[in-house]
């Protein structure tokens, strides 16, 4: 299932957030999307997941055209995402937050109990893997920033998407846990899931990703394996500020 965009363009008034972005992510790998603040990474995610409609360009996923589709359609096609300004269901407990990510199918399916044992166990499994098992019964609004961040990730993983878009998963997360998230990403990747990670933490990016796309001013300026990117002049100039 390859996620590609071609000529993706989005302008907000005078600000061109995406300027004809042609991007192709490597399926089955951990992809990273990096770039300076305001280079259009989040906007790119928003377009891909249908949260906003691009002005021009096409988005395809595994050959299927996803351009302009509603967010839930994209989600059901197997693309999950987290938000940069982390979003959880504030008045639900952690378990419920994760359970809410289980999507009902048809009508009969939708009327089945949302609290089945197997699913609850699965939810707890995710919470455990992210190190927030102890918060299972706490309402999300009472959690600290980093805890919410992790909870959001757990929810997305519960939905079992094939392709997972993470917008700054490390932002505000304790470094000790970061290693864990890194491992988790690798493990899931080994299970066959594709990742696209937006991140400013270069250590993390360099250590876990197989393929890096660098954005600047709304379009990719470089793409390749970490070692290559690390050495790329343009990247250094545009992003790393050297």
């Amino acid at each position: 299932m390859t996620l590609t965009t071609s000529g993706l363009r989005k302008a907000f008034g005078g600000v061109v957030a995406l300027d004809g972005a042609d991007v192709e992510f490597v399926p089955g790998k951990v992809n990273a999307l990096i770039g300076p603040n305001g280079s259009g990474k989040t906007t790119f995610f928003n377009c891909v997941t249908g949260m906003i409609k691009p002005d021009a360009g096409r988005i395809t996923y595994g050959g299927k055209d996803l351009t302009g589709r509603a967010p839930h359609v994209v989600a059901r096609a197997g693309v999950g995402r987290t938000f940069q300004l982390c979003r959880v269901f504030p008045r639900m407990t952690a378990v419920e937050n994760v359970l809410a990510a289980v999507r009902p199918g048809g009508l009969v399916h939708g009327l089945r109990s949302a609290h089945r044992r197997a699913e609850i166990e699965r939810a707890h499994g995710w919470l455990t893997r992210l190190g927030i098992e102890h918060l299972a019964g706490a309402e999300a609004r009472n959690m600290s920033w980093g805890q919410q961040k992790l909870l959001e990730l757990a929810g997305v993983l519960m939905a079992e998407p094939n392709t997972i878009l993470l917008d700054e998963p490390a932002g505000g997360v304790n470094p000790a846990l970061l290693d864990r998230i890194g491992t988790l990403v690798r493990d899931l990747n080994a299970e066959g899931r594709t990742f696209v990670i937006v991140e400013h933490n270069m250590d993390l990016v360099m250590s876990i990703s197989d393929h890096i796309v660098v954005f600047d001013r709304g379009r990719p300026i470089a793409a390749g394996p970490p070692a290559e990117i690390r050495a790329d002049e343009r990247v250094l100039g545009a992003y790393l500020g050297v």
Partner: protein, 247 residues
């Protein structure tokens, strides 16, 4: 020498729930950067909220410049020279960048000073100047963070409390912020810094303090903390500190 800000044996928490801070003390003298690190939910943000007057402690005292300010609200704290930059996003979304930045100088009576500071922050963070007239809520996450930091620079307080200022910032902006922290310290400001980018922060800081479950777990000179392998594993991430990749 009195510390610019000092929290003494503070207990604090939200609503009726169990306390988050359970007897926490910290003191930050002028011209010092104290870095607070700890796992998610340890209570770091809570410490800063208490220090800035947003959250009243249940017990304990808060001294600013040696004066007891326990129970004072943020307005009074600011008047005493204590400023806080919140975690997450706290720009005024439906106001322009200009309005946001200028509001940072709300307490300034001197118009020319306000203009001077505004020019300074515009220079420091180019994006602030570039997007001067757009609504702050429409900026990207990192841009908003920069606006926020710029806003806090409109006044020059004696004590600066920073809650993960580098979160979501690209390496360039992160450097700017850490440089700024150093500059503030050199100008004699007391800085209490909370960071998850722990190694980087500890490198900048003079003192470090590891917070876990609302208590001080360990504290000491930042360099010592950095060197401790166990701390490294538990709180600072397993990998040794790595400089930004330079070829």
């Amino acid at each position: 020498m009195v510390s610019e800000i000092e929290l003494v044996d503070v207990q604090a928490g939200y609503g009726r729930a169990a306390p988050v801070l359970r007897g926490f003390s910290v003191a930050v003298p002028a011209g010092t950067v104290v870095c607070l690190v700890g796992p998610n939910g340890a209570g770091k943000s809570t410490v800063l909220k208490v220090a800035a007057g947003l959250l009243a402690p249940r017990t304990g005292r808060i001294l600013v410049g040696g004066q007891d300010m326990t129970g004072a609200g943020p307005q009074k704290m600011l008047a005493q020279g204590v400023a806080l930059v919140l975690q997450g996003h706290s720009v005024f979304r439906e106001m322009t960048v200009e309005e946001n930045v200028l509001l940072g100088g709300y307490t300034l009576t001197d118009k020319s000073k306000r203009a001077r500071r505004a020019a300074f922050v515009k220079e420091l963070f180019p994006v602030v100047g570039e997007r001067w007239h757009s609504l702050a809520g429409l900026l990207s996450g990192g841009q908003q963070k920069q606006v926020e930091f710029a806003r806090s620079l409109m006044v020059d307080p004696k004590v600066v409390l920073l809650d993960e200022p580098s979160m979501g910032l690209d390496p360039k902006a992160t450097s700017t912020i850490f440089d700024q922290v150093v500059r503030m310290r050199d100008a004699g400001t007391a800085v209490l810094l909370v960071e998850q980018n722990a190694r980087r922060a500890l490198e900048t800081a003079d003192l470090g303090c590891v917070l876990d479950l609302g208590r001080v777990h360990i504290s000491g000179p930042a360099a010592d903390l950095l060197a401790d392998p166990q701390l490294g594993e538990l709180y600072l991430g397993g990998r040794p500190a790595e400089k930004p990749p330079v070829p």
